[in-house]
Symmetry: C2
Subunit: 189 residues, 2 copies
């Protein structure tokens, strides 16, 4: 029977980041990662499908964004509903406590084309989740696609700004500003 | 010395598509592809870095779009410059003659996660090329990013529409309509 391992996914992700930075992504195996985390290989595979996946979670971000869009006030315009999704990302993912982890993760991804590809695909999947959630609010298809794309761009820009400022800045606030900036830019396109 | 092989890249891509459809992407090797195309392995590697790359060309699309944006009239607004890039894609890539190839290519990519990842990353690189080309026209950074994203979305939508209509439709025309639709949708976001 599986033992209960507190924070196993987080410990595995941290161990993976350490090893990828020390000896490179290619030279690290799943067994190395599990060992460094003080866990077994089977625990690794209960949490992640493969080595690449250890930095990408299991689609929790998709659910988080979609739920926040669904829960936005029914009067909210599409981009306002998207702002609620970015608020949720700020509360759950881009927190002060996860700032260092997030920065290390980005550095490892930037250094590895295989990880960049996985991230690019994950990003498309986040956009698809947001688009679906908007459609379910009755937003017309094309508007939903445009709003989700603009939201994803605002999120990328917010992440860049958030990771460059000194500690203490609130992602949600930065994301709302980025979303306003993106929206304003559409007018001069 | 390398022999000159007419249309080698195209022959290799067609052979790869045939084999991926017949026996699956995983069960096809570079040697199989070269053999089917009546070419040698070294010819394959003069044209493509690896098996995945055979469906993605060598960055020619990036140059094509960037050059068209640079060549747009200096008075053109950012999205009008992007429309010139989509015109170029219609003239060079999404032609009637290449319609069947393009449809088969999409079907193979849709069936294979590894290829989807490569495509997702290529798409990010096209957006980055368009963004750079717009910046070089003096478009402010954020506006350039927004225009390139909207252009990429319009291109995706145009591709969907183009591949669903019966033969004879002009991609450039469909792309301009898609770009207008996307632009109009930003107002109701």
């Amino acid at each position: 029977m599986a033992r209960w391992e507190p924070n196993a996914a987080e410990r595995l992700a941290n161990a993976a980041l350490d090893l990828f930075a020390e000896r490179g992504y290619e030279n690290t195996t799943v067994i190395d990662i599990a060992q460094r985390a003080g866990l077994g290989k089977s625990t690794f595979f209960r949490h992640f499908q493969d080595k690449r996946e250890v930095l990408f979670g299991r689609g929790t971000m998709n659910g988080l964004l979609a739920e926040a869009i669904a829960a936005a006030p029914s009067t909210a315009a599409p981009l306002e509903a998207v702002a609620h999704a970015l608020d949720a990302a700020g509360r759950e993912v881009f927190t002060s406590a996860r700032r260092e982890f997030t920065a290390r993760r980005q550095a490892v991804i930037a250094a590895n084309p295989e990880l960049q590809e996985r991230e690019a695909l994950k990003n498309l999947s986040l956009i698809a989740s947001m688009t679906d959630a908007l459609r379910q609010r009755g937003v017309p298809d094309l508007t939903a696609r445009v709003a989700a794309e603009l939201g994803a761009l605002a999120s990328t820009i917010a992440y860049e700004r958030w990771s460059q400022t000194t500690a203490g800045d609130d992602f949600s606030e930065i994301a709302r500003q980025a979303l306003n900036d993106v929206r304003a830019s559409t007018a001069s396109c």
